[in-house]
């Protein structure tokens, strides 16, 4: 083993947050507020927690205002269930929707700068898939901070935890979870600036590492979203749930895939094809442009496939248009300034005057680390792992099932983050004073392989090949042939990656080294996505099989997939929780296996 690889020091804490995004922060804030002086350490891969991906969430945060005479929690629950294509867990749906408004007030009372109506109350807007009276009309349910709602959450939660004495370790990688007799006791951390490994022993550990969008070439996700949390879990021999459930956002800006928020459609933007026809009328006669994401993304991809797309000369990709020209100046300037600014900035184009080119872009991972409704991580046989929690995009409780509604993700962060915090607090009470001794060995094994490989290749190029492969075969339309081919190609890419030598062996701020580690995670997550998708011979939510275009009752379950060794998968199932239906209460009929039509 490479001599430079050793543990420099060991730190002890009560609560370890792996990933200081919205979910991790909300969890930390809960613990610090309820039990001041708890020793909390939060890790982040970026240069500072404020740079986490949550800061980019634009549109809003769904929550039913109890003062609203027209709206009701049951409608929000129904929309979430219907949107999930009958695969969200109803205990989780009820718990999150029920806690939503209280969490909005938590943020507001601590300084979040929500947009206001003329009376000084929180403003609300509509969003795709959110309705009144079980699908009757659009609901005004999303509170927001202009088009920087996620930033508002991050600024508020960062401030709150800072106020209460959190410690941060920035620009680091959690490389390995530590366990003793099945209990999680912290992790091994690689500090990039110093090029050093440290061990953090913690009584409770929360995984909140965010998404995995870098698996795809065209994505709205930030550079750090390489699915590390999922890879850490798989590496530990634990399962991930529903990895095949990957969401594609309809309106990615042509080129890198930067998100043009749903807000563009909720304020009246219209999708048009080459002939300038408003094509959503044919795919979702009722909801039209406000139909849920998977339907809109598939409609756009179909238009393009059937020859009604337009080719962009700069990026040489096909797209459709979003028309914003008819919107009043006040809407452009007050409601969507940042998003319309993107078209100006990245395409040198003015949306007040010109049509804007958009195409579907990878956006969100519904699948993730399986937890119960309290954020406690589960094994494949659904036993709880003591000391280990997960929340946010890397987790699957599951609130979104196979398709997430816009504005439901950041709601999940602040609710599940809080629930996980509450559970962690009770767990901390019981923890004995003495820490058991544990050591890790997987990190050094992986890193010394990177240091010792001697083949000539380029990590960046392998990563690009992987991302292109996944975009081509595992996006909006999937089929068996493509997936079998993808699995073979993934194995080849893994083989190539394993052999690739680093051009510098320095451990300090060596981005190539970090990228090699991330590439391994991307490969692992890609393999899990593809294998689970291959196994699911039906179409559900965002998972669409051309060879099995309908939803099938034979697949009314969550997929659990374990893969301790690359490519060697074990598949299991978890039942979908349907208690709202089974309890036979009022409106129970709305929570059965309903059809998903908009």
């Amino acid at each position: 083993m490479n001599k430079a690889l050793q543990i420099r020091s060991t730190i002890h804490c009560d609560l370890l947050i792996i990933g200081a995004g919205g979910a991790g922060f909300r969890c930390a804030a809960e613990v610090l507020e309820k039990k001041p002086k708890t020793r909390v350490i939060a890790l982040t891969k970026g240069s500072h927690p404020q740079k986490s991906h949550t800061s980019t969430a634009q549109g809003g945060l769904a929550a039913v205002d109890p003062r609203d005479p027209a709206d009701d929690n049951i409608f929000h629950m129904f929309d979430t269930w219907k949107g999930s294509d009958c695969s969200a867990d109803q205990n989780v749906v009820r718990k999150i929707c029920g806690a939503a408004w209280e969490q909005i007030l938590w943020l507001e009372n601590r300084g979040m700068h929500f947009s206001r109506d003329p009376d000084g109350r929180l403003s609300k807007r509509t969003f795709g898939g959110h309705t009144l009276n079980f699908g009757e009309s659009s609901a005004y349910r999303a509170v927001f901070e202009a088009d920087r709602t996620g930033k508002g959450i991050m600024d508020t939660c960062w401030g709150e935890t800072l106020k209460r004495g959190i410690s941060f370790i920035n620009q680091c990688l959690a490389t390995e979870l530590l366990f003793k007799e099945n209990q999680c006791l912290g992790c091994i951390v690689f500090r990039q600036h110093e090029g050093e490994f440290i061990r953090i022993l913690s009584k409770a550990t929360v995984l909140s590492t965010g998404g995995s969008g870098q698996v795809f070439k065209i994505t709205t996700n930030c550079r750090q979203n390489t699915g590390d949390g999922l890879a850490l879990i798989l590496q530990s021999g634990l399962p991930v749930m529903d990895p095949e459930a990957v969401q594609f956002h309809p309106t990615g800006i042509v080129g890198p895939g930067i998100l043009a928020s749903e807000t563009l459609r909720s304020v009246g933007g219209i999708l048009r094809n080459r002939k300038l026809e408003p094509f959503m009328e044919q795919y979702a006669p009722k909801m039209k442009d406000l139909a849920p994401r998977d339907l809109v993304a598939r409609a756009m991809a179909s238009e393009i496939r059937e020859g009604r797309g337009i080719v962009n000369p700069d990026h040489n990709v096909e797209h459709v248009w979003i028309d914003l020209r008819h919107l009043p100046d006040a809407v452009h300037e007050k409601q969507i300034p940042e998003v319309t600014g993107f078209f100006k900035k990245y395409l040198n184009l003015n949306p007040k005057e010109k049509l804007c080119p958009v195409h579907p872009s990878n956006h969100y991972h519904m699948g993730g680390i399986p937890t119960n409704e309290f954020g406690e991580v589960q094994t494949s046989s659904q036993e709880i792992i003591p000391g280990l929690f997960a929340a946010g995009e890397c987790a699957a409780a599951s609130f979104h099932g196979f398709n997430r509604l816009g504005t439901n993700s950041i709601l999940e962060l602040i609710t599940m983050g809080k629930f996980a915090g509450e559970k962690a607090l009770t767990f901390l009470e019981k923890f004995p004073d003495q820490f058991p001794e544990v050591e890790g060995n997987l990190s050094f094994l992986r890193f010394s392989n990177y240091m010792e490989a001697s083949g000539k290749d380029n990590i960046g190029q392998i990563r690009d090949a992987l991302r292109t492969l996944m975009t081509e075969n595992m996006s909006i339309f999937r089929n068996e042939g493509g997936m079998l081919k993808t699995i073979e190609s993934l194995k080849e890419l893994k083989h190539r990656a394993d052999k690739t030598a680093l051009s510098s062996k320095s451990l300090r701020m060596n981005q190539e080294l970090v990228q090699h580690w991330e590439l391994d995670n991307l490969l692992t997550v890609s393999m899990a996505i593809t294998q689970a998708a291959l196994n699911r011979k039906e179409s559900r939510g965002a998972h669409f099989r051309e060879d099995f275009p309908e939803r099938s009752d034979n697949f009314n379950y969550h997929s659990l997939i374990s893969m301790e060794q690359f490519g060697k998968v074990e598949l299991e199932r978890r039942e979908v929780d349907m208690r709202l239906f089974e309890e036979k209460g009022q409106h129970a009929d709305k929570f059965g296996l309903i059809e998903r039509k908009y």
Binding site: Q50, S55, E108, H113, S115, G120, L122, M509
Partner: protein, 242 residues
């Protein structure tokens, strides 16, 4: 107008190797399409020429402030600078690229931003003593008009471009973005602890260190008129109730 489709650029990048403590300027020649961003150029260099060049980014669409660098002396976000616009703005196809001078350099274009953030931490970027909402279990009412007075300041992403451009902030001044973070909380009706805020604002390291050069407003990628907020604070107008 017939636009040129691609450019042959020379990037002169300031490098630093923490192991040998050596610093030098390295030339990279890159052929780039007209609407590639500077972060795309760095990635292209990593993939095609030099996997070692270290640089920072996260969101890559101007929302997080991770990718700030100086291009031909101007602090800006590398993820927002398109090749075509850079050529037009700087009237050249040769670009000097340096790390921001707001914190120690870790490697190449990567600086230790956590150190720069310590200045923000000092001003307490949160509500120290929140006012309870007038009716319990409700929001604290703030009219759009009231919010309008300071909402622009809340758009700051702590990219530190202003701090880099502000000569005063290289010494004792806490810097323009730290001042913004304070001013927000003086103006926010939910903050009850105004005295502590004002003390920081008017302290040794506070706004009187600013000599109104307006460089901050000029470079802010979010187009926040930072200098305006500071001027209003100097005149004492931020504490006025509407």
């Amino acid at each position: 107008m017939n636009k040129q489709q691609s450019y042959n650029l020379t990037l002169k990048i300031r490098r630093f190797d923490p192991d040998s403590k050596r610093s030098w300027i390295q030339d990279y020649h890159v052929e780039a399409g007209r609407i590639l961003r500077f972060v795309d150029l760095f990635r292209k260099i990593n993939d095609e020429q030099d996997p070692n060049l270290a640089w920072s980014s996260s969101c890559e669409h101007g929302q997080c402030g991770s990718c700030s660098v100086k291009v031909n002396g101007k602090p800006l976000l590398a993820c927002e600078l398109l090749v075509e616009n850079a050529v037009q703005y700087f009237k050249t196809i040769t670009f000097q690229i340096e790390p921001l001078n707001v914190a120690p350099v870790v490697r190449d274009l990567v600086v230790d931003i956590s150190t720069a953030y310590e200045r923000i931490d000092q001003i307490k970027p949160y509500i120290i003593h929140p006012a309870p909402p007038p009716t319990e279990n409700n929001e604290y009412p703030i009219t759009p008009h009231e919010l309008e007075r300071y909402v622009n300041a809340t758009r700051c992403i702590n990219c530190f471009c202003c701090s880099s451009a502000c000569i005063s902030s290289h010494k004792t001044f806490l810097g323009p973005n730290a001042m913004l973070a304070t001013i927000i909380r003086v103006m926010d009706p939910r903050e009850q602890e105004k005295d502590q805020r004002l003390k920081i604002l008017y302290s040794e390291n506070g706004i009187y260190r600013c000599h109104s050069s307006r460089a901050c407003s000029f470079v802010c990628p979010k187009e926040i008129d930072v200098a305006h907020f500071i001027a209003v604070a100097k005149e004492g107008r931020i504490t006025e109730q509407e």
